[in-house]
Symmetry: C2
Subunit: 278 residues, 2 copies
């Protein structure tokens, strides 16, 4: 099964474009879990069990596990193992934002796709296509490449006007990249793009350029992206292929013993609102 097929199937099955970001920063998880064995995994397991029927994907971000060193990586693996075993239809996207030269990327691909066993990974574009081939060549896994990110200063490089060698008119770097990835990097049909919900105008432009590939859209919730604008700009012509991510607003909706229930309530509200605008 290709990544696109797995994504399409779960979106259909759950009727949901929602992805929950498992940004399970140790300092922010509820106090009653802090002294448990494997607190980050215990937290994730509760969130997953409370929301698994509402999402198309979960997206753990490696930074919050690496911050705890080998122990954190171990809890990240427990989380991925749990997901694959208990909810095998749900897509797991490792938000790792990696990219090195080719031979080195073999190590990262091994970490993401073999050790953790995730379905997709996020990648930096700066080194070019040849460097990320070890990811692209894994035909059954998705590669979400950073295109227009959600941070306030995203435009500093991404909005630079570039002049392609073909003599075409100058366009912004992120637009050039969206075109290049769609036309040249996506030979195996497993590329996606990361575009922040905090920039719905740019999201609309990317969707126009990359009509048929999945967009991973972080930035609703804590970062303030507007849901109506995000959904309308992000989905393809079939109302799909947009993975709309909320992390902190969902997983830290509550911090008492009912935190998982609070997360479920927030996620429910989100998918209802998302589905209005699809």
């Amino acid at each position: 099964m290709t990544f696109q097929q797995k994504l399409d199937a779960i979106v259909e099955q759950q009727n949901s474009l929602l992805c929950i970001g498992l940004d399970s920063e140790l300092a922010r998880i509820p106090a009653h879990l802090q002294n448990k064995l494997n607190p980050q995994f215990a937290f994730n397991k509760a969130i997953i069990d409370a929301t698994h029927d509402l999402v198309c994907a979960y997206k753990p971000n490696t930074a919050f596990y690496e911050a705890q060193g080998a122990e954190g990586i171990s809890e990240l693996k427990m989380t991925c193992d749990y997901l694959r075993e208990k909810y095998p239809d749900i897509v797991i996207i490792l938000d790792a934002k990696r990219a090195d030269i080719g031979s080195t990327n073999q190590g990262y691909a091994q970490f993401a796709f073999d050790y953790l066993g995730v379905d997709a990974i996020t990648l930096h574009p700066y080194l070019g296509k040849d460097a990320i081939l070890p990811f692209l060549e894994r035909k059954d896994r998705g590669c979400f490449i950073l295109c227009r990110t959600s941070n306030p200063g995203a435009g500093e490089l991404q909005d630079m006007k570039v002049t392609p060698d073909t003599g075409n008119q100058a366009i912004k770097l992120y637009q050039y990249l969206a075109k290049k990835i769609t036309e040249e990097w996506n030979e195996n049909g497993n590329c996606g793009l990361v575009v922040g919900a905090t920039y719905p105008g740019e999201l609309e432009i990317v969707r126009r350029i990359a009509q048929h590939i999945p967009l991973l859209i972080p930035g609703i919730g804590a970062q303030g992206g507007d849901i109506e604008k995000t959904v309308k700009a992000g989905v393809d012509s079939g109302g799909k292929n947009a993975i709309i991510n909320s992390s902190r607003a969902v997983i830290f909706a509550g911090n008492g013993s009912n935190f998982a229930q609070k997360a479920r309530e927030t996620a429910l509200k989100l998918i209802k609102e998302i589905n209005i605008y699809r």
Copy 2:
């Protein structure tokens, strides 16, 4: 002590610009170590003990440790702990090529600077300055930002002609970035740039733009960069501030029981050659 001061002191003390990349891929380390407890650490320890008087820096690349999951991260930490304890004057550069949005980068900074305790890290520029502030704000640590990388397809994005808003003439993206980092990102004096030895022409241009900041230069050895050209193009006007990295050509110089001695011999040859051209 600032990162620059630590770098200057060790370069002076060892009379060496050589950095050894600890790309200690498990499958490639000598057979007699494979069945040991903590084989990657055992390998690194032997390499370090055999070469510590020859280098200004060691540069472990996270990919080769992450490939082994939590166990690999644990051996990476053992390596960094060993270096900091036994050879505290030597610079440790974590080749992690990270960068996420600001709040997430806190996790990576914690991993690199607090958990592993390294002196510097390599970073992707694509998200812009605001995103990498959690690294830049650690004034005593170095931030080596990818500028012109060593891979064959590096130019695909990095050589794109960009037009700055100031109305200046179009220049290549990597040149624009070198200028921007030198002039705007380096407020704390802790920025460096990564420029591949496989492109001595581009290296020379970057050194002209960024006259006073450290350059981390991978790509001699296995990747084929020319030492004379690299050294002449890479050093500053004082014959310093270039960290010239070799990884596989040094650490895998031998694969028998004398592998560490072989690594030493290769490193010795390299610093002699590097020092001819400084």
